[in-house]
Symmetry: C2
DNA sequence: TGTACATCAGTGAACGCGCGTTCACTGATGTAC
DNA sequence: TGTACATCAGTGAACGCGCGTTCACTGATGTAC
């Protein structure tokens, strides 16, 4: 970096090579810090070290860029949820395992919301992609959407006999609402700034409620 | 209106008389249509028929205006919730009444989110005011915040013996999370555009879950 | 293997826009005498 | 009751800003002969 405020990472090649990806990555960084409205086309190109209009080779619109960033954020969320499931200690008790996997879905969701509020808000800012389209599948990732992970976990509860089959339909939306609501209250709402320990407790209590009430 | 696009409502007096209120009202209208980001200072003054800088007599900032609008939106939410409780048929069964009042809190909350998504989002966009400060108390309104209404309803459940006293602490956040989450999913999320009947059903199911799981 | 050429990812300059905010002002209102 | 004056809510013009987007362009790359 030669001059203050000059963040242009100079390329050696005239062509960038992977600009589309670089722009999405830059957009993710912007979203991470300021949520969806911070995903500004000119800022993304600046961060990628490219002229503003270069973005139009890869996105029709500022909106198309935002949409791609939103999808990538959703993929991040899914990856965090899967990571949470991966940390579970192995057990021979099938029912306990099913329960633990179910709870990990919620815990991972909440952890992501807490650790990456900007990305979380960005993931949900753009028309419903949670239930569809997993976007890029990173190494070691199933490619499932958050919604699919939740569905699988619920199926596991039914198989383990922890959830009556007749309660299964629509259960996604009950569980999802409760966890998503807590996430929103923690991020944007009156629960912001709660002590991390209390945040974790609140999450567990909400998941308890879901298990009881589902 | 003499010219197309000229929305300036001309005053007779030089002084406006009630500009602060007019700006908040204009802000509410903007928020109603486009959420918090649509609360634009110049647009509000335009709608009030006043020069842009006139706003600075009543608000230090664009942010101060947004904050006032957000509080007013929150007051609207509270009013809708109270209205929902008012429509309940009278009953002599104290337990049934307590339950109905509790459910009306959630139903009113969801109804407002559905009918006024822009105001709903605006109410929650700005740092936590739901638990405090009821803002302007309209005629026939208690002045309670949404949070207080929920608390009162929960106290009613305890008094009626429908909720064990030891489950009461923290119950606000469980109920609130679930209902708030559904509201968010219906407005911004993948449940947007759900058929109104299904929306109502989903709301009732979530409230069922809360009653069971609280 | 060497050359001509088409492709198309990036450049550089410019546009119009609406925004928030500041400035020095004006003139209606309420009050003191 | 009539007049002088202070107050302060609104005016009008201007500012600098960063944005998204368009234009005609340039030059590295890959391919056909």
């Amino acid at each position: 970096m030669t001059a203050v405020g000059n963040n242009k990472p100079k390329r050696e090649t005239y062509r960038h090579g992977d600009l589309r990806n670089a722009l999405v990555e830059a957009g993710l960084e912007l979203a991470r810090q300021g949520g969806p409205t911070a995903v500004v086309l000119r800022a993304a190109t600046r961060q990628a070290g490219v002229a503003p209009n270069a973005a139009y080779r890869h996105f029709t619109d500022r909106n198309a860029l935002l949409h791609a960033v939103s999808q990538a954020a959703m993929a991040h969320l899914a990856r965090t949820m899967e990571a949470e499931q991966t940390t579970l200690p192995p057990t021979t008790d099938a029912a306990a395992a099913a329960r633990a996997r179910f709870r990990a879905v919620g815990t991972g969701y909440l952890r992501f919301a807490q650790e990456e509020p900007g990305l979380f808000r960005t993931a949900f800012h753009v028309p419903g992609d949670m239930t569809h389209a997993a976007a890029d599948t990173a190494a070691g990732t199933t490619g499932k959407t958050p919604f699919e992970l939740l569905g699988t976990a619920l199926d596991g509860l039914v198989e383990a006999g922890l959830l009556p089959e007749d309660r299964r339909p629509g259960a996604e939306f009950l569980a999802w609402s409760a966890v998503h609501g807590l996430a929103c209250l923690l991020i944007d709402g009156p629960l912001r700034g709660l002590h991390p320990t209390r945040v974790h407790d609140a999450g567990q209590h909400v998941i308890d409620m879901i298990e009881r009430g589902i």
